[in-house]
Symmetry: C2
Subunit: 423 residues, 2 copies
């Protein structure tokens, strides 16, 4: 994988040029893209022509999930309804990337309209397995060393899950830290842009670069965080390997000096977990009204079924789900007075052996609903060599602290892996 | 003016056809549009062909502010950057109008990108005066009897102010009651769709029709509300005529049985008033990044100046403004335990005698920031015969109560006007 931070440092010090970085991406793309299918569209020559050492991103190439508008690339939202569509304007995130000196190398594959119907992408760690979704191409492109940075979006678990499945760092910032302007909307209360890179310090660096916020975690070693091991009410739906991964990450963090406690969430969190689909689907029935009303025959069965059912959700049920959300957000704020981050699974297990499903967001939707920062920390594999991501969840607005805690856990895991006899 | 509710009732009872309503609009358009310039585009023949008595809107014609995407009409956002632009999809609001049985008759003029640079529209009550903005065409089309219902959007005061200037009812619902999907974003924390119609019961009927919510106020006479007369810290910037209008509306409401108290807002509201531009401008610099970065020369000086200055707003200043907002929202909720609505000016006075400026949003921005429902109540004119709207502001999520209070005040004002010797 390409570490964005390493590349940036080397460009800064003059030992590497932005064009050389693009050459490296181009080599990886030539070697692996035919098999992996991470890109919806690509412009290597254009990126090479534009790449200059400017801004905080120093000309680094970036991938943009094809759910975000681009004026210079087709934008098809993974849907045949938008075949050949070329938006008039870039989404705000794309402009922020450019303002920071990043260069868009290509659009990455999204599932259909960022829901569950898969695109063409395969998991670089084992191409018979799903890369996860909906930000399939962004996670896979980073995992395959084809890009140092890629952007995605999460409404259920669409950043953290594919990051976990592909074994890369994924960062879903606090709700609204990154703008959704020019992103195809699925649920306006939930849609959250996020990003992928090789490691935690890399996603933090890229997020800092485009927001101008103090999010970097590479300048000083992170202090030992106060971590709550949270199994959640769906712990039994996590595989044994995932349960072991979370518990060994907790032990590793504790051994490295973190203060680790086991916490059982109050029941309001379970209510919020159940409220997520009500909020999401009520809004999707309206956000995708044009597609549903005018192009029903070109929507996949899985999304059509969702929207058919969503039509019956009443405003009263939606309002109640929003009130539950508000109560759970207060409960989360209260809980987080004692902790810097929660540690919990990123997904039920490793990437399923299937290309027909992108897996499930059950370990993500609660945190998306609460709008909290989430980080997938890679570094633990299952017996078959597939990655098992663990998730650090922070307090709303405390993105730096969450990233710092995630880096601490990532470092602790790496130390254990290095010490293990079979590593 | 055309009362949407009257028209709907007559269609329902079989004494009027939707096509006949469109004919009436077409007559008013033929008579006045050349002078008023309310429409960015129009399709009378198409609307006549599509108009059927279905849904809660019974085939009524509707105008959509040209800041909201339409697949069947050009969408130019009032900006030369988007000349001839035809979006691929309708905005969610447009789909909701269609689902409710409404027919889009045309797109109404917006100021440039919904900011201050005016479009071609004139005030139907006196064409030498501004109609207000940014929803200029929607307010003017309703005021001139060219449409029974028109949609607009408000980020500062872009629904309530033009409604006041043109003498129609305007309703800015609670934040996120109406979807912003497919609407050109200026500020994602503030942009709020709203609507215009002849009277308060008409806007309530139309809002109920497209949301499926219990918002109608025409079925029973509204109970006397508890009203707080709120002069705000900028009362001295209201004209004498406006101050008299608000005070006489308060007396009229009191005489009709409302409980009216005078309330001085806590200072947090003044802080929130000052926080509004920080939130708006920080977000606009990102939401309009593509236009600013790529088409700077085609942005008006007034908007370019705003964006130039906005580039300097730090994330820290923005976060602080957001925290102020949150505190003010809590203060508002607390205040509203004692009241059903606040009564306050809709604008500093009647529409200015100018077509170069659309006036100022100083009496609106606080409420937009707080996300509270706001209604412009027409019915009081100044000595020159220009309308002076008064504003009812409710508690977040209590849109029905706010509309009911507004109807009560509207009825009380009408009773006084009818009793006045020179009416």
């Amino acid at each position: 994988m390409l570490s964005a931070l390493d590349l940036a440092r080397r460009i800064e010090s003059g030992t590497l040029t932005p064009a050389a970085v693009i050459d490296r991406c181009a080599e990886a793309i030539a070697a692996r893209e035919a098999e992996i299918g991470a890109f919806a569209s690509l412009d290597i020559a254009g990126a090479r022509a534009r790449a200059q050492n400017t801004g905080a991103l120093h000309g680094l190439p970036v991938g943009i999930k094809d759910i975000i508008d681009t004026a210079d690339f087709p934008t098809e939202y993974g849907s045949p309804i938008y075949a050949g569509y070329r938006p008039r304007a870039d989404g705000a995130l794309v402009s922020l990337v450019r303002r920071a000196g990043g260069v868009v190398l290509g659009k990455t594959v999204t599932t259909e309209l960022a829901y569950l119907h898969p695109g063409k992408t395969r998991n670089p760690r084992n191409p018979a397995h799903t890369p996860g979704g909906s930000s399939s191409g962004s996670a896979a492109a980073v995992a395959a060393g084809m890009l140092p940075i890629a952007f995605g979006t999460q409404t259920g678990g669409s950043v953290i899950r594919p990051a976990a499945y592909c074994g890369v760092a994924g960062f879903k910032p606090s709700f609204r830290l990154l703008p959704t302007v020019g992103m195809k909307c699925f649920s306006w209360s939930l849609d959250t842009p996020g990003l992928f890179a090789a490691g935690v310090a890399d996603v933090a660096y890229a997020a800092a670069a485009i927001t101008g916020r103090d999010l970097r975690v590479d300048r000083t070693a992170p202090l030992p965080p106060r971590v709550a091991l949270v199994r959640t009410h769906i712990w039994s739906q996590a595989s044994e390997a995932m349960r072991n991964a979370v518990e060994s990450a907790a032990r590793a963090a504790e051994n490295a000096g973190a203060q680790v406690s086991e916490v059982t969430l109050p029941t309001i969190f379970e209510e919020a977990f159940r409220a997520h689909p009500t909020v999401q689907d009520f809004e999707a029935y309206r956000a995708l009204a044009f597609e549903y009303d005018r192009h029903r025959d070109r929507i996949s069965p899985i999304l059509r079924d969702l929207l058919d059912a969503a039509a019956a959700i009443t405003p009263q049920a939606y309002d109640e789900a929003r009130r539950t959300t508000r109560r759970a957000r207060h409960a989360m704020t209260e809980l987080m007075t004692d902790f810097d981050a929660l540690l919990t699974p990123s997904a039920p297990g490793a990437a399923p052996h299937s290309l027909a499903s992108t897996g499930t967001a059950i370990f993500n939707r609660l945190w998306t609903l609460l709008g909290t920062p989430c980080v997938n920390v890679p570094g633990i594999d299952d017996e078959a060599g597939l990655p098992l991501g663990v998730q650090l969840v922070g307090r709303f607005g405390r993105d730096h602290a969450t990233l710092a805690a995630a880096l601490f856990v990532e470092t602790a895991i790496a130390r254990i892996a290095a010490a293990a006899p079979n590593s």
